[in-house]
Each structure stands twice: as structure tokens, then as C-alpha cells.
């Protein structure tokens, strides 16, 4: 029997006697074979058997095709073999690294090309999609902002990335409009409003221009007003949620200037505001990303803090990013507490606070005292929030898939610590 190659060349020889122009023939022949191969693969994919498919071709064509179909079948086997299971934590890490690369690349490009300006807020999970390019061309003066127009351009000036323009813009705006009018509007604004960044910026200016000895006072006052703003904003958000609005329309982010005072367990303290060092990119999904910290976060540091405010929760917000603005000097206010490092005592494990948990209930379940748990976790108050990580005695941690680790207390009973 002929080998596939022999058969192939015989067919070509035979055909070349019929078609004197070799070049033209070869491409016609190959084209036909390419079509045959494509058809044969399609038929196999539809479920036909190899023999049935090959039966519709001449002997030498079938020989040619058989080997090729085997190869494509083996390649399909690679395709259908299950992919390796990837480590989800590593995936989050890799995504973070990608975002860092993004900022690096953007900075690099901005240095090279000053006309490039990042649009919208960095954390803008909610924003208007850019208009199509045909509309954009109409707005030559604001070309770099898309079709948002002069209004959008004005907004853009107040976004985080362009804060360096804010003083100029604000002076201009104040000069053009009634100084009192804008000031009043800005003082009345809340996170999410257009003029809230003016308020934050004004506070920041107050902070930096104030007598160092009084910074502590100013900071506390600033934190109080910001906290009041957050509370009001959270209250409004809760109303909207109660009215049935979708969560991801209500939750939003805002950035403010605050002085970092230290840790309360794992939470960061800014006055009476507590910030969780992680946030949910998708509020309907409990998965969260760690808060990005830039600079040396020490008590007394001025921080440009980006947070995500959740409906109803006034005192605790999710931290997205903390950028330390200046080095801590000796005249920085003394923090109210020396930072304490949470330590896991021997025999204790990690526990994620669930909805409805309270510190006293966990203490009872663990057969430990609130003081012990607070001490190990450096908690300053008994406020704990869902998703917070705590060290707890093993007895206080509900059993997981490996029942050998923990013994569950019977109903109403407690288990003595090992």
C-alpha cells in the first residue's frame, strides 16, 4: 500500500499531466485540500465518525486527511483537558500588581506627554462612559475630557488626580462667583457632591496653615465635621437602600484629608472614624481587596484617605487608599494611644467576624474575657464589624471542614480552654 506521501505525490503527478501549468495547479489542489480538511474537521466536530468522514474522499485524499485529523483530534484533547486550578489569593495579588503597573505606566507617560490627563476619579467604579469619538470631535477645547463639555471640565478640575489645579481653579471660581455663595454651598456639601472636595481642600489648608501646636485641635475638629458628613451621607444612603435602590448605585467613594491617629485593632483611627483596611470592589460580592497604603503610615501623619461609605454605617468605612502627605514632624499631635501590635496567643486561631457577632458573645463562646480578646487584638473599644479578622481562642471558632481541630460546645454549654 502506498504511504500517504507517495499517494499524495502520485496524485500531483497525475494531475500535473492534466494541468500543464504547475504553479496554478498546486494552489488549486492545495486550496481544495484545505477546504476538504476544514470540512472534515467540521464534520468531526459535529459528531461524525472518522471513518464515515474519510469515506467521502478519494483514497489518497483520505490518506492525507487521516493523519491530519488525528493531529487535530489530539490538539482538541489538549483543549478539553481541564485547566489547572489557580490560587485565588495569588490572583488578587496579581491584579493588584497589574494596577500598580498601570499607575507606573501612566506616570511614565504623563511625564513624557503632559497633555495626557487621567480622566475621572481613580476609584471611579461609577462614572459616565466616554462618548463616541464623533461627538468628541465637536468639543475641541475640552477634547481631552471627551464630550463632557465645559461642565465636565469644571468637574474634572476638582477630582483627586488634579488637586494641584484646585487652588488656581478655586481662586478663579471664587472670584467669578459670589464668594459667599460658593463657600456656603461647599460647607453644606457632603461626600459625593461636586463641592465636597473644596471643603476637604479648605480643611487641608486649615490644617497645614495652622499653628503646629494646635494641629491636634484642628485635626480633631476636622475629623468631627468629616465624621458628621459621613454619618449624614451614610444615613441618606440607608434611606435610598430602604427605598429599594440597588446597592451599587448608592455606595460610592470619597477622598478626604485626615490625620492618622493609630490603630484600633486592625482598624485605622482618624478621630472617631474607624477605617477597615480593605474594601469591596463589588458591594454584592463579599470578596474584598486590601487597602493600598502609600508612604509611611505613622500616628500624626496627614493622610489623603479614599474611603467607600456603606449605607447606614456612619462610624466605620471601608478604606480604599491611604496616601501619606508629609513626614511626621516633632510638632505633630501626640496620638491618643501608642500603637499596639496585635499578637496571636498560643492556641488561638483566626476568626472572621460574622454578621450579628458582638465582642461579648464571642468572649462567652470562647470562654475568655472581653479584656483578653481585646488585649490580644489591640481593640480599644468593643466595636467589631463584619469581615474583621480577630484572634480568638480555638474554642470560639466554629468548626470548618476539618472537625478534628475544634470541639463544638454543646447547646448552651461551654468548652474549657485547652
Amino acid at each position: 500500500m502506498q504511504s500517504a506521501e507517495e499517494g499524495f505525490s502520485n496524485a500531483r503527478n497525475m494531475a500535473s499531466r492534466m494541468y500543464p501549468d504547475d504553479e496554478q495547479y498546486e494552489s488549486v489542489f492545495e486550496e481544495r485540500m484545505a477546504d476538504h480538511f476544514a470540512d472534515a474537521v467540521a464534520r468531526l466536530e459535529d459528531g461524525e465518525s472518522v471513518d464515515s468522514v474519510l469515506a467521502s474522499y478519494s483514497a489518497h485524499e483520505a490518506n492525507e486527511l487521516r493523519g491530519m485529523l488525528h493531529i487535530s483530534a489530539h490538539m482538541a484533547a489538549i483543549q478539553h483537558a481541564p485547566l489547572p486550578i489557580r490560587n485565588p489569593q495569588r490572583q488578587v495579588l496579581r491584579r493588584e500588581q497589574f494596577m500598580e503597573q498601570l499607575l507606573l505606566e501612566r506616570t511614565r507617560q504623563e511625564l513624557a506627554d503632559p497633555h495626557l490627563q487621567a480622566t475621572a476619579t481613580p476609584a471611579g467604579y461609577r462614572m459616565a462612559p466616554p462618548a463616541r469619538r464623533s461627538e468628541r470631535s465637536k468639543q475641541a477645547a475640552t477634547a481631552r475630557h471627551g464630550a463632557l463639555g465645559w461642565w465636565g471640565a469644571l468637574q474634572e478640575l476638582f477630582t483627586v488626580g488634579n488637586m494641584r489645579l484646585a487652588p488656581i481653579a478655586i481662586t478663579l471660581v471664587l472670584a467669578l462667583t459670589s464668594a459667599l455663595g460658593l463657600w456656603q454651598v461647599s460647607t453644606a456639601s457632603l461626600p459625593g457632591d461636586l463641592t465636597y472636595p473644596i471643603k476637604s481642600w479648605v480643611k487641608m489648608m486649615n490644617l497645614s496653615m495652622s499653628d503646629p501646636a494646635r494641629v491636634g485641635e484642628v485635626s480633631a475638629a476636622a475629623a468631627e465635621t468629616i465624621q458628621a458628613d459621613f454619618a449624614e451621607s451614610a444615613r441618606r444612603a440607608a434611606e435610598r437602600k430602604a427605598a429599594g435602590e440597588a446597592l451599587d448605585g448608592i455606595v460610592h467613594q470619597e477622598s478626604v484629608y485626615l490625620v492618622f491617629e493609630g490603630y484600633d485593632g486592625r482598624l485605622l483611627k482618624f478621630g472617631d472614624i474607624r477605617v477597615v483596611p480593605s474594601w469591596q470592589p463589588n458591594v454584592n460580592d463579599p470578596a474584598s481587596l486590601p487597602m493600598v497604603v502609600e508612604g509611611d503610615l505613622q500616628p500624626g501623619a496627614n493622610v489623603w484617605l479614599t474611603v467607600q461609605i456603606l449605607p447606614g454605617q456612619a462610624d466605620v468605612v471601608q478604606g480604599v487608599r491611604a496616601e501619606v502627605q508629609e513626614a511626621v514632624t516633632d510638632s505633630a499631635p501626640a496620638p491618643t494611644a501608642i500603637p499596639c501590635t496585635p499578637r496571636r496567643p498560643a492556641g488561638w486561631g483566626n476568626y472572621t467576624v460574622q454578621r450579628g457577632d458582638t465582642l461579648s458573645a464571642l468572649a462567652v463562646r470562647s470562654n475568655a474575657s472581653v479584656r483578653q480578646i481585646a488585649g490580644a487584638n489591640c481593640l480599644e473599644s468593643d466595636v467589631i464589624i463584619r469581615g474583621q479578622l480577630l484572634y480568638l481562642p480555638q474554642a470560639g471558632i466554629p468548626p470548618t471542614a476539618t472537625p478534628t481541630e475544634v470541639s463544638t460546645p454543646g447547646p448552651g454549654g461551654t468548652v474549657p480552654l485547652p
Binding site: H74, P84, M127, L194, G249
Partner: protein
């Protein structure tokens, strides 16, 4: 003038989450290094690029590294619309293909210099789902694919390793369907010849 409590500015449609945007909108925003848009693009394509690279090389940790490289390269070139305007995913696959080829070239260079520590990609296939014999064949196929031209390897990867149709591959590679058929035919015929010379029982 400005109403209190409003989350979004006036004179615009209410904003939508990035997950709802069309690819055109995402790419438009991506050219200005908009973080949310680029993050969304990453989320939409990362798994596909990983599986493409993994199926080409069969080595999971290396595939993870190379996937990350692909997206770094994407960031470096995203501002140049001409690069990806015909097909963004096709462009990404092309970057992935080149990253794989570069990786092989590096390995070959190391092998020539005699650095024994660098593992041979062709032998690192610990996918337990394929039987021993099938693994051998997968390895051989991967190795043989390195002898193909760039375009032939790309067509085979997209068509048979990723499962795109001829029509889809034509879109990704910005070619006619006829050209894709010709490429796939030539590529598989070459593979068959190479593997028959290896005397592999198919």
C-alpha cells in the same frame, strides 16, 4: 445650581458600572490609563490569555508569569490605537503568542550556553488529566509547533487549542477565511510530517 446629595453631575446620563460598558467604551477610556476601565479589561481577558498560554506550554507557574507579562505589554502599548483597533482580543493573543515564542528562544539560548538549571518547557507537562500517552503526544505536539511559522502556530493555537471557529480566527488575526483555511492546512500537514518522522504512533 448644584443640588445636594446628588452622586452624579448634571447634564449627563446616570453613570453605569464599568462591568456594563462595551469594549469600545472601555478601550476609549483605557487610552487615558483610566484605572477602572483597564481593570475591567483585565478581568475580562486574563483567564483567556492564561489558558491560551498554558495550553501552548503546559507549565502552570510559567504560564502565570507570562500572562502577567502580556498585560504589562498591553499597558505599554494601549495608547497606540492602530495596534488594536481591528481586534483587541486578537492583539492580546498576538502579544501572548510573541511572549511564548520569546520564552522558547530564551530557553534555547540558555540550553546552548549550557545552563542546566533552566527546565525544558517541552518536558514540563504535569497535567494529570491527560493520560501518559496523551501527555507524550501533547508534549510532542507542543514541541513540533515550535517548528511552524508564527502565523501557522497562531492559527493552530486559536483554532484547535482554544476552539475558535475559522470565522472567529479570521477576525482575531485580521485575515480572510480562505487564508485561515490555507494556514491551518499547511500547519497541520507540517505537524503530521514532523511527527511521522518522529515515528510517533498516532
Amino acid at each position: 445650581m448644584m443640588s445636594r446629595g446628588q452622586v452624579y453631575p448634571l447634564r449627563q446620563a446616570p453613570p453605569s458600572p464599568v462591568t456594563d460598558w462595551s469594549e469600545e467604551q472601555l478601550l476609549e477610556a483605557a487610552t487615558t490609563y483610566n484605572e477602572a476601565a483597564l481593570g475591567e479589561l483585565y478581568d475580562r481577558y486574563e483567564a483567556r490569555i492564561f489558558s491560551y498560554i498554558y495550553r501552548r506550554i503546559g507549565d502552570e507557574p510559567l504560564a502565570e508569569d507570562l500572562t502577567a507579562q502580556v498585560f504589562v505589554k498591553m499597558l505599554q502599548a494601549i495608547r497606540d490605537r492602530r495596534a488594536w483597533h481591528s481586534s483587541f482580543s486578537g492583539w492580546l493573543y498576538r502579544i501572548a503568542h510573541n511572549v511564548v515564542i520569546d520564552q522558547y528562544r530564551q530557553r534555547d539560548r540558555h540550553a546552548q550556553v549550557g545552563l542546566d538549571e533552566t527546565p525544558d518547557i517541552a518536558n514540563e507537562n504535569d497535567n494529570p488529566a491527560l493520560s501518559a500517552e496523551a501527555s507524550l503526544t501533547a508534549e510532542s505536539i507542543r514541541f513540533a509547533m515550535r517548528q511552524l511559522t508564527d502565523e501557522q502556530a497562531e492559527v493552530l493555537s486559536l483554532r484547535f487549542l482554544e476552539g475558535y471557529s475559522i470565522f472567529e480566527v479570521a477576525g482575531l488575526m485580521n485575515k480572510t477565511e480562505g487564508a485561515i483555511k490555507a494556514l491551518q492546512y499547511r500547519a497541520v500537514a507540517t505537524l503530521r510530517n514532523l511527527l511521522e518522522h518522529e515515528q510517533l504512533h498516532l
